[in-house]
Symmetry: C2
Subunit: 795 residues, 2 copies
């Protein structure tokens, strides 16, 4: 079913060009097989012997010939059309293919001079693959030209779109495997084309590779009737071009024609939008490539079909060292590519092989777009003074912290109107999360139909709203890794939707940081709001503060978690993370009105320390260690802690109370375990070594124990937090249900400070009475009782 249409703008390749493309493809296939199998004799200069074979055969052959085919033809497009392009390789387990192409074009040897483009380098390329101390079997940060780790599947297309946004000159090809196409994130990401602006964004060219099989099963898309598949892809908003076959020369011609046709159409749409003011959403082209899994590999092994079945997925010929038949079959397979035509006597690729390869940074393995730090420009951040709230006295004025942040983000958005290197993504929550000021500076990206009642939709908007955390995350990752900045705002509980995606991004950053040639990229910044304590509209279904637990399990050199307690600390934190590089920063902050505690200067100082004593909030006089430490992290726990401190001041004025607030959770970790971790001496100075510490924490309480268990004072540390007692109720009832309320905190103090005597009994009774009053009041009124609702700091 090869598409018969011919490209309008480019001439069909000649026979010699086809032969050269085929030579490049064969060379790449040869190199892919060699990586999986050989540790010596790379050019087959002698007959293959067991000692040339790796002891452990690891890798994925099945997808590799398809990736090699696409790479070969992308080379042609880049070279003949002088296109700036990059490619996202969805089937990243085809690492051997991408490495082979990088080696052929020379970018690999430039990046890793030890792996030269000659016989010795070919040997090194082969041996290092999936070998201890070598390179991963999947596409990874180590792979030149990649922004997309092989491994967990589903994110190729979102990464491609992220790369294309605000890069109008860029063509991002994206190979989507038919296995990956079954995943949810991938299935949703086809609709990314409703968010791609033909004027300000580049183009994405998806290549759906139907090779028919996963590890052990056929794929759904490969087994649909043709009309159903075509309807599906048109329903996704694409105009598919089909290429199918198992005869190389035919497929080369068809794929070259399909790529020309697709790029012609892309050019046409972009021209129409950019020069002629066309506003209709393009039905962007895509290519459907149907070729056999493990194409050109062994047809049959031990009497079972392999090529074009799932058996070709990994290592089609097993046990080659010990099985002379398999060894012979491997040698025949490798010689079938006619390596003597492809590499000269020194192991260098021949001129014919390299005919399609572009030059310099146009090469897919050398493009700066895939090493985005090279393109990164600092954000123009405004002075925080322009947005800070005035705090004459702490705990008396209320602001919605994220709304204040919205003003800062508006400034950043406005200041990047020309350079367009900043985006904010969110799953339909930007307004709900109080960041609506952004719409003063930009709109919401939207290429679908617009009705008169709509607000803030704009073809060139840089706020991205779609009801898919997966798309938000994937777009942003792609955007950051290609050299731009961004922020992801999300309901706290639903950040778990992208647990596994951020996992993969953290791994990417952790590895990238260890590679000298990868330039630092902007951090991935989360703003988690609509948090566990304030789900008034929703309740238990929306409550879970565990995303930070997940984050803090990961590589300490990459992860940062901040819990600013008020508006000015949020501003200072946001300013910090937006300047940072190569981190994943998680900020947890409230969107509901909350008390301001610190002036901007105080906030800056406090955030710089990350955790510290709020002297003004306690009752110690500095002459001795306090009797008790009230520590807190998070806006709601800070409020309850301050209220508890007020109660203690009133009821037990002689008690020396210290109040500590923690903004940067990693300060609690030992210094040896995290670069932000406090040295023990500092920790002891803040928290004491032996005084009771009542820690009111935003999330699961055991997180604090897990961070602080090595500290001298750990056995005196008592943590209150969220313990899964959630429902639809008032803010104060939520903290009561979880024993995080001010009255309980005071009772915790009474339980732990020795020698309080009879006064403690009376105070305890007063606290218990207050909780009883709360329960009675809320049942009747459905609101928080006045002594809570009207509370303000009196210190």
């Amino acid at each position: 079913m090869t598409d018969a249409r011919t490209p309008s703008g480019a001439s069909a390749p000649s026979d010699a060009e086809i032969a050269a493309l085929d030579a490049h493809w064969r060379a790449a296939n040869y190199l892919a097989v060699g990586q999986i199998y050989l540790m010596a004799n790379p050019l087959l200069e002698e007959p293959l012997a067991p000692e040339h074979i790796k002891p452990r055969l690891l890798g994925h052959w099945g997808t590799s010939p398809g990736l090699n085919l696409v790479h070969t033809h992308l080379n042609r497009i880049v070279r003949t059309r002088k296109r700036r392009a990059m490619c996202v390789w969805g089937p990243g387990h085809g690492g051997p293919a991408v490495l082979a192409n990088s080696w052929l074009e020379g970018s690999y040897s430039e990046t890793y001079p030890d792996v030269s483009r000659d016989r010795a380098g070919m040997g090194a390329l082969f041996k290092q693959f999936s070998f201890p101390g070598g390179v991963p079997s999947h596409v990874a940060p180590e792979t030149p030209g990649s922004i997309h780790e092989g491994g967990e599947l589903g994110y190729a297309l979102t990464h491609a779109y992220g790369a294309a946004f605000d890069h109008p000159e860029l063509l991002v090809a994206c190979v989507v495997g038919d296995g990956e196409a079954e995943t949810g994130p991938l299935a949703a990401s086809w609709h990314s084309n409703k968010f791609l602006d033909p004027v300000h964004d580049g183009a994405v060219l998806p290549v759906l590779h139907l090779n028919g099989y996963k590890i052990a099963n056929p794929t759904v898309l490969a087994r649909l009737p043709e009309d159903e598949l075509d309807a599906l892809l048109r329903g996704y908003g694409h105009d598919p071009v089909y290429v199918e076959g198992d005869e190389p020369a035919v497929v080369h011609r068809a794929l070259a024609a399909a790529m020309d046709l697709a790029v012609d159409r892309i050019d046409g749409y972009q021209r129409a939008a950019r020069s002629e003011g066309a506003s209709a959403r393009p039905r962007w082209p895509m290519i459907v490539l149907r070729t056999p899994k493990g194409w050109t590999g062994p047809e049959e092994v031990d009497g079972l079909p392999v090529e074009n079945t799932w058996r070709a997925h990994q290592v089609p010929l097993p046990g080659v060292r010990d099985n002379p038949d398999h060894l012979r079959q491997l040698e025949e397979w490798m010689r079938s590519y006619r390596p003597e035509e492809l590499f000269d006597s020194e192991g260098r690729p021949t001129a014919q092989v390299l005919e399609c390869v572009p030059e310099g940074t146009a090469r897919l393995g050398a493009t700066p777009y895939a090493n985005g730090g090279l393109l990164l420009r600092d954000l123009p951040l405004p002075p925080l003074e322009n947005h800070a709230v005035r705090v004459d006295r702490p705990g008396t004025v209320l602001h919605e912290p994220t709304r204040i942040l919205g003003g800062l983000l508006e400034d950043v958005m406005a200041a990047t109107a020309d350079r367009r290197n900043f985006r904010v993504v969110g799953p339909d929550e930007t307004e709900s999360n109080r960041l609506g000021a952004l719409y003063e500076a930009t709109g919401k990206a939207w290429q679908a139909e617009v009705l008169p009642t709509d607000e803030h939709l704009a073809r060139d908007g840089r706020v991205m709203e779609v009801l898919s955390e997966h798309l938000c995350q994937g777009w942003l990752e792609g955007y950051l890794l290609t050299g731009r900045h961004g922020l992801f705002s999300s309901y706290e509980a639903f950040a778990h939707i992208v647990d596994s995606m951020v996992n993969q991004h953290i791994k990417w950053l952790r590895t990238s940081r260890r590679l000298h040639w990868r330039a630092p990229v902007a951090s991935l910044n989360y703003l988690l709001t609509s948090h566990v304590w304030r789900q008034d509209h929703n309740g238990f279904s929306h409550q879970d503060p565990g995303f930070v637990d997940h984050i803090l399990n990961k590589s300490p050199e990459v992860v940062r978690v901040y819990m600013p307690p008020d508006a000015n600390t949020l501003l200072s934190t946001a300013d910090h993370v937006l300047r940072s590089r190569d981190y994943v920063n998680v900020i947890v902050a409230g969107k509901q009105p909350g008390f301001d505690w610190l002036t901007l200067d105080e906030a800056r100082a406090h955030c710089a320390r990350g955790a510290g004593v709020w002297e003004w909030a306690g009752t110690e006089d500095g002459s001795r260690e306090p009797d008790v430490v009230l520590a807190c992290a998070g806006d709601v726990p800070t409020l309850e802690t301050m209220a508890a401190a007020g109660l203690l001041r009133r009821h037990l004025p002689e008690l020396a109370v210290r109040v500590v607030n923690v903004v940067d959770m990693t300060r609690l970790l030992p210094h040896e375990e995290h670069p932000h971790g406090m040295p023990d001496a500092e920790y002891d100075a803040v928290f004491t070594r032996d005084r009771p510490v009542i820690f009111a924490y935003h999330g699961y309480p055991w997180l604090v124990h897990r961070l602080a268990y090595r500290r001298a004072g750990h056995s005196h540390l008592h943590v209150r937090g969220y313990k899964e007692e959630g429902t639809t109720t008032t803010p104060f009832d939520m903290v009561v249900r979880n024993d995080l309320d001010r009255y309980r905190l005071v009772m915790d103090v009474l339980d732990r400070v020795p020698g309080l005597g009879v006064r403690a009994v009376a105070v305890r009774q007063a606290m218990a009475d207050a909780r009883t009053r709360h329960h009675a009041w809320i049942r009747e009124h459905g609101t928080d009782m006045p002594e809570v609702a009207d509370w303000a700091w009196e210190g």
Copy 2:
């Protein structure tokens, strides 16, 4: 664009029937509004006054009229066709609608007698909604007739399919909101129809409700051109029937006709497959319902359009208590439903309202399918003796534990061939995870094209393989909640993909357990394999043992985590979890050949204790406390611990070493915090109070600290585990990189046991030498050195 085709098998409703349907719909709308706003005066027997209005207005109106419409018409289908049916309400934030319908049909009052079907009950229904101490604003376990929590969106359709599998008599309607349709999981789940057997499974009738808006944005699907939407749905394999309008009488007729048509087609497909042997995959019908968001609500509020915009999403009239205009508008709105025609003087629904409502357990709020524990039959589990491996001496024979488990699962699958109440789901990994024996008893569910080279595909298969963890999880949840059993096998690292889904399921179970009327359902059982230590084919991209950390943050009454160290303990664990109810059980087990340590009887005893001393592995003589405890959890840590114990036995025979193995991780928790937690006395008897404990743990080491920090011996606890040092390498190199290897464990002992004197120096050097040998060997050979590869227990 109302579809003009008329149903073939049912007569169109008369004018009187349409009037009755409309009365039911109006009544439900009235009740939905009442729940959001009123705390008194439910029948509007006096003019609305501020004191009738709730102080906090919380809930979601926008989707409610649409849900009420669908419920009304489903009632008609169930009643007129005597169909067994249930419904999954994707827009679960429309809780007021589902509650309204349950109250109208009487199932609510039967479940909650305090909320009677009369004036008083209506008052209670209104007040309790989103009120402290009342009911959640979303559909939740408390909602009769539901298996699907409102909250995180994306899983409606997978739940519906899960409910339909192996329930051939059941019609599962499923409302999919156009917001939810943007999520990845929902986008992928349309393809579930390639896995639905028209013979052995029931039918799913998706109702895509295009009300056009999310919280603050239009939806993608509602803004597609009609041809693109139609192509998309046909590409998903459906034959859509369109219903559109904003004129109630017209829409009632169109929707009744569409439902009749859809059910006729479903009946036809099922008849053809069941009686006539038709084997083509049906192009199942679905309904596209396009009605205004917040239909019948306020058209305009304060001069801004509300009905049919995103402003209708939650509470369209804010501040009603304080705003007399809004109060008046609310009263007009509620009276527009003509409540006096809908409810009699006692507040009971009139006969006309109830005309469409079915009887007894046919009612959607009373169906046992949505309270699946009522339908649950125990699994026929075989004697474990049939599958146990023989262990004459520990640590000398190797088995692949999951392959042994595969035999057990094969038996269960075979024994349920008739009753069909057991399924195994996996993302293309069942064979890879060594569970291939299942295919002796059943096939892989598959309704798409089959080629001659395919293996094990079967229309009636009960192994479900699709490359989407989201679908696996959603299908299984739906299957379990409707009264069946199952197992989800997954690569360990990729279980994080469903972090947020399992979150929601755990919340569901936690709440269900507290509801007397919800019968216990089978547990959700995970088998996590291809774990962090054995990613030979893949490397760092596939390494993350943190899913159990996520699980252990959740409600202790629901979650269980097991790490069986060998084949027989895995069998015993699996037997236990397959019998259990209302839990989420996570089993982490290896699929690679590993040593057998325990006979079946020993394994049973060990698993029953959950954690205990392996006396035969240590060197203590029972006369005194040991010098050191080597503890372990997980197969690879157990191997390294046993090897370390062997090294200590050889090098320091006088040292009294105790070996402890932990299968059930929650045993480490305090008894007060988890029902499985050991009492302190037991913990101290096993781990000692003051001896050094070197704990080799499968996952992130701080998890053990978080579980055990309250124990007396905690300051002597030293945990080794995975610390993100991953790559593509050998099994032993992985443990060395993470300092979990036998030599490091011995060094840890030397560091912590006092008084070992000069001998310790020599042993330490021997251990360091061994690590050096390892590094040299692996660089050269790419394999593990013989002293490791050939190691066996010599105790």
